[in-house]
């Protein structure tokens, strides 16, 4: 058939339209991943002979156990807090939707614009008794100097609170959105059967948004492992030394830019990537969130109405 030549030409245009994105994906997504691998066996002060020992060496770095303890402590507060509070809030918002819900949701999204450097500034102010909006609460707990709060051992809680504050609002709205996808017939049926709001939330709504909860848990977990900006800025700009190499990414940064040990830094980056990759594969292959058939066989009523 005369189609074959036209076929190739046809695909040429499509390839051309795909090319810019493909270039970016390969150059700044796939390539760095590969380069990270090849950077690992480079020679450095810590790894004078080079080679794949870099993995073992970075794990034995004297700062690694501390970073592990810090990040593990942080995650232990941060991840459950995120999941429980976010889902709880979303379910509570969904109990009764009235005109106030819209304003509540707007309020929840406000902290999402306070992240990174701005978050450090804002939280420094909140915990500074002389200027804080909650100074009466601080005074009530006997805190009259910010130094009482900003201690290295408190960082696991403080960073967890700071990060939670920035991220919770976003996710509350997203999970609230996912609750809207539950068909009203199911809800009606449950209500008619005498379900209380609590039972409705826990027994019916929650299981139905399971895949979105998993999606959130994976992203929150993977993101939490990579905590960098807040402890780094606290360490360099606010209280020098309070958080030196506190998190894995800070250690990686230090290895790369203070010790010139790119091999070690890359090794650490790869180690950190592994949980994220596993999480990614779980969400892709174990939930149907991204399944082609889920997407393609949507009912008409489910069609995207942007």
């Amino acid at each position: 058939m005369a189609k074959s030549r036209g076929y190739k030409q046809r695909n040429l245009l499509m390839m051309a339209m795909l090319a810019p994105y493909l270039f970016l994906l390969l150059a700044f997504g796939i390539l760095p991943l590969i380069m990270a691998f090849f950077e690992v066996p480079g020679e450095s002060l810590a790894n004078p002979d080079g080679g794949w020992d870099a993995f073992r060496i970075v794990l034995q770095d004297f700062r690694f156990p501390a970073a592990l303890k810090n990040v593990a402590g942080f995650m232990a507060y941060f991840v459950p807090m995120m999941i429980i509070v976010v889902i709880g809030m979303a379910l509570m918002l969904d109990v009764k939707t009235n005109k106030w819900s819209k304003y509540l949701r707007m309020a929840y999204i406000v902290p999402a614009s306070i992240s990174g450097a701005v978050a450090v500034l804002v939280w420094w102010a909140i915990f500074e008794p002389t200027i804080s909006p909650i100074r009466s609460i601080l005074n009530f707990f006997g805190i009259d100097s910010a130094r009482q709060i900003w201690q290295t051992e408190n960082l696991v809680y403080l960073i967890a609170i700071m990060t939670f504050f920035s991220l919770a609002g976003n996710w509350i709205l997203i999970q609230y959105g996912s609750l809207q996808s539950i068909s009203t017939e199911i809800i009606e049926a449950a209500r008619v059967d005498g379900c209380s709001a609590f039972q409705l939330a826990v027994r019916i709504k929650l299981p139905l948004i399971r895949k979105y909860v998993i999606y959130m848990a994976v992203l929150v977990f993977a993101g939490g492992l990579q905590i960098f900006v807040e402890p780094q800025l606290l360490n360099t700009g606010v209280y020098t030394g309070i958080a030196a190499s506190w998190s894995f990414d800070q250690l990686s940064y230090e290895l790369a830019f203070k010790s010139g040990d790119f091999g070690g830094a890359s090794a650490l980056s790869i180690i950190l990537l592994i949980p994220s990759l596993i999480g990614a594969l779980v969400v892709i292959f174990k939930t149907d969130m991204f399944d082609d058939k889920t997407i393609r066989t949507k009912k008409d009523s489910d069609k995207v109405e942007l």
Binding site: Y21, L24, L25, G29, V110, I131, V229, D249
Partner: protein, 305 residues
């Protein structure tokens, strides 16, 4: 015993009423959380309207004066010959470029994957999904090495190019085009003699308005306050964006850390707060006017509203 003889009209109302106490607790908690969410932002936005001493003496949520903002800005310009102006311009320019590149490349990619018959679609989709779920921060060190090898360190182009990679956008775009345009439409258009280009210009593009808005929204809010990657790529003050500049102000002015920085520079808490507000305010505005976009985007179009 009246249940058996209740009229059908009453039988409908068998659904349980919410316990008053339960609803009270739920509502109180919702309102409390809203207050907690909003108070820090109010503090931030109003801090620069007050003078430094006023921050301690007056109510933290009180409004000072409009002149306060102007003073704070003027003081900021004393730092390093007005480099703050440069930071603002850089933030705007870099982000404009990023939003444009990211939105265009991602929307085209999504279209191609949903509309064409190119091979390796599945591989492509999976690699995009994986990139979506890996925190961008994880790749910063390898990206630095890469940029160093092509001599783009301290060049804004490094930040712009890296940030233009938008796997989330490509995925969103794929979902959008897949659900709004059935493949049969492309087939019949092809049978009618439509070229691929026309498939895009006549069918897909006219329907892309909402998608492009969504992509631009996420690209903006994801990049405006970005810190780690630009921090690693850029080292000259003139190339900094506002977030980098703010971090720099922490460590080089006495505002937060009285022991640090030249004391001749009049940068104290109101000034730093203004810099912070310049970063947070645009994002907040974007969020408030585009709530629905946030939800639809993150759930990749799998909900209806």
């Amino acid at each position: 015993m009246s249940t058996l003889t209740e009229s059908p009209k009453k039988a409908k109302k068998q659904t349980r009423h919410e316990s008053r106490i339960g609803m009270f607790f739920v509502n109180s908690w919702l309102i409390f959380f809203a207050a907690v969410s909003v108070i820090p932002m109010i503090w931030l936005l109003l801090a620069s309207s007050k003078t430094d001493p006023e921050l301690s003496t007056r109510n933290p949520l009180a409004f000072g004066s409009f002149k306060g903002y102007i003073n704070a800005w003027n003081n900021l310009t004393f730092f390093d010959n007005g480099v703050i102006g440069r930071w603002v311009i850089n933030s705007i320019l870099y982000n404009a470029a990023i939003v444009v590149f990211a939105t265009i490349t991602a929307s085209l990619a999504g279209f191609v994957i949903s509309a064409s018959r190119i091979r390796f679609k599945k591989t492509f989709l999976i690699s995009t999904l994986i990139m979506m779920l890996i925190p961008p921060v994880a790749l910063v060190i390898p990206l630095f090495v890469l940029m160093d090898k092509v001599s783009l360190i301290d060049n804004p182009l490094s930040v712009i190019l890296i940030s233009s990679l938008y796997p989330f956008g490509a995925f969103l775009s794929y979902i959008y085009y897949s659900t709004t345009i059935p493949p049969e439409l492309y087939e019949s258009a092809r049978l009618d003699g439509c070229s691929d280009w026309q498939l895009y210009t006549r069918i897909a593009f006219p329907l892309s308005g909402a998608l492009l808005g969504l992509l631009a929204f996420f690209a903006f809010i994801g990049n405006w306050a970005n810190y780690f990657m630009p921090y690693v790529m850029l080292y000259s003050g003139e190339n900094y964006t506002l977030p980098l500049g703010l971090g720099f102000l922490f460590s080089s002015t006495p505002a937060i850390n009285p022991g640090v920085g030249a004391t001749s520079v009049p940068i104290y808490k109101p000034e730093i707060a203004l810099a912070g507000a310049l970063i947070a305010f645009p994002i907040m505005v974007m969020f408030l006017i585009s709530q629905k976009r946030l939800i639809r985007g993150m759930l990749a179009g799998s909900i209806k509203e």
